[in-house]
């Protein structure tokens, strides 16, 4: 059908590409050669799709363009473009196309329809780039969360019957779960009757963190092992008292060394210096 | 948006129905690959609520469903009784409160074990409690 304006854009592909790249240069969301290749491929595919879909804003051909676009936007994302710049990339295309449309067609009503279709298609694509950008970010974040929770709770066997777990970073409720699970499982696996929880690496202890610590100690005791909390820095002792947190039921020590000493006492062990 | 995929309904009228119910709930948890810890929390919560259902509601029915919210899968358990209902919900949800001869940590304790907890009750018209435990919750 000849009467669809968008379909006829294909004939002006080169002109469109030039206008588009001028616009991109003007708003600064371009980075040269790689992009030129991408843009060429994208424009060719999109114009083809527009040609074949003939005014339909939701065709199979456009789906293919979406796939390419997701690839382009993630590659742009890796090259450091913000999602805003990715959207501008498409908006610039829309502007360029719209400019060419007004050059080849003078009938306002036809022009209006074509522009409306163009907007629908490209706005859709802009949303798509945002979504794929967000999804990419979310994947990275969830992978990092998994990694952090795995590397951040190493349980160390410091002596026969004594395990230690240094906590580094903030202790929130999901982290507490992981800490508790790992600690208790290690207690069972090693048959250790004493666990030392070292909080030297915890930046601050508020009432919530204290509650998590108390829970961990209670769970350890329920299993039949004792739990010592070490690494209480002076500022932590101060905040604990100022906040009115009751840690009296818990054995607390300033350093890991003194916690270990306490553990030895409990196990009735003595460390002596050889003469 | 939470959507349910598979679903089943069990009638609970006597104590002996509790263990089969727990087992069914556990199977639902295992099916979606829930960790042992989350399974244990879910089954314990189920156990607490079904005990309430028997004691205060005089029995009722329990619906177990596999649910999904797009990001995570979970198990939803709904407890429906036609008992007398609960007079003061905020009081019943307070730690340490109990009318029966239990330890008084039924509802608030149970709430801490699951990710979502909803209770609807009307005097004389029974109580419906719905809980969801997400696989990674």
């Amino acid at each position: 059908m000849q009467n669809n304006l968008l379909a006829s854009l294909k004939e002006h592909q080169n002109k469109l590409l030039t206008t588009w790249s001028q616009l991109l240069q003007a708003n600064g969301s371009t980075d040269g050669a790689t992009e030129e290749e991408e843009s060429k491929e994208f424009a060719a595919l999109l114009l083809d799709a527009l040609h074949y879909s003939n005014g339909n804003t939701d065709s199979d051909e456009l789906e293919k363009v979406h796939d390419l676009l997701i690839g382009i936007s993630s590659s742009r994302g890796r090259r450091g473009f913000s999602p805003r710049e990715n959207a501008q990339y498409l908006i610039a295309f829309k502007e360029a196309a719209s400019k060419i449309l007004s050059e080849v067609e003078s009938d306002p009503s036809k022009l209006y329809t074509a522009n409306l279709q163009l907007s629908t298609i490209l706005d859709n694509m802009a949303i798509l780039t945002f979504e794929s950008y967000m999804k990419g970010r979310e994947d990275v974040i969830s992978r990092q969360i998994d990694e952090i929770s795995e590397i951040s709770t190493p349980v160390i066997r410091v002596w026969d019957g004594v395990v230690a777990l240094p906590i580094i970073g903030t202790l929130d409720s999901s982290r507490t779960q992981v800490v508790m699970e790992n600690l208790l499982q290690q207690i069972v696996d090693t048959g250790s009757s004493i666990a030392i929880l070292d909080i030297s690496g915890v930046p601050a202890v508020d009432s919530l963190v204290a509650q998590h610590l108390i829970k961990t100690v209670s769970a350890t005791r329920l299993m039949g092992a004792e739990c010592i909390i070490s690494g209480i820095r002076p500022e932590i002792a101060q905040t604990v008292v100022h906040l009115g947190i009751d840690l009296t039921g818990i054995i607390t020590k300033a350093s890991l060394a003194s916690a270990l000493q306490t553990a030895f006492d409990m196990l009735q062990l003595t460390v002596v210096k050889r003469k | 948006m939470t959507t349910a995929t598979s679903k089943e309904e069990l009638l609970i009228v006597k104590e002996q129905d509790v263990v089969p119910l727990r087992n069914r709930v556990k199977e639902y948890g295992v099916k979606i690959g829930m960790s042992i810890l989350n399974q244990t929390k879910l089954i314990t919560a189920t156990s607490e609520l079904v005990r309430n259902l028997l004691k205060y509601g005089g029995g009722g029915k329990v619906i177990i469903e596999s649910v999904s919210n797009g990001r995570d899968q979970g198990v939803r358990v709904t407890f429906i009784d036609n008992g007398p209902g609960i007079k003061d919900i905020s009081l019943a949800m307070k730690d340490g409160y109990s009318t029966g001869k239990s330890l008084g940590l039924g509802l608030p304790g149970t709430k801490r074990l699951v990710n979502e907890f909803d209770i609807q009750t009307e005097l004389g018209n029974g109580t419906t409690v719905t809980i969801i435990k997400w696989k990674n919750g």
């Binding site: 069972v188 329920l222 299993m223 409990m266 | 399974q39 005990r51 801490r112």
Partner: protein, 124 residues
């Protein structure tokens, strides 16, 4: 097992069974004049408030009859769940496994120690 009684719970109990366990156990303590009771719960996958109360009851009842109760082999997931639920099992002494539970009972009998403490921390 000498003065000690070892009870292994193999299945998840429903209420009536748990109550039966309570009375059976107390009667056996009386009959054998046992001085210590070990309850092995390593096969128990959940403890709810009812079950927790039964364990607490057994501990208190046996204590009045001059026998010490030690619960052994609690699963990590069960311990975490109990803590979240807010159940502290007051009065119940626990040990990691049967062996450590026996040691604990023996130590308690020789010391005549009636404190509800796993360890003597007088040197704190």
């Amino acid at each position: 097992m000498g003065d000690f009684l070892l009870v292994t719970i193999q299945v998840d109990l429903y209420d009536q069974l748990a109550e039966n366990l309570e009375s059976d156990l107390i009667n056996t303590i009386n009959k054998n004049n046992s001085k210590g009771v070990l309850i092995d719960i390593s096969a128990v996958s959940i403890i709810d408030s009812f079950m927790g109360r039964i364990l607490g009851n057994i501990a208190v009842m046996s204590k009045i009859m001059d026998a010490q109760t030690v619960v052994v082999g609690m699963q990590p997931a069960v311990a975490i769940t109990l803590v979240e639920l807010g159940l502290s099992l007051n009065g119940v002494i626990s040990a990691l496994n049967v062996e450590k539970g026996m040691d604990l009972l023996r130590a308690k009998m020789y010391n005549g120690d009636n404190e509800e403490q796993t360890y003597d921390d007088s040197n704190q």
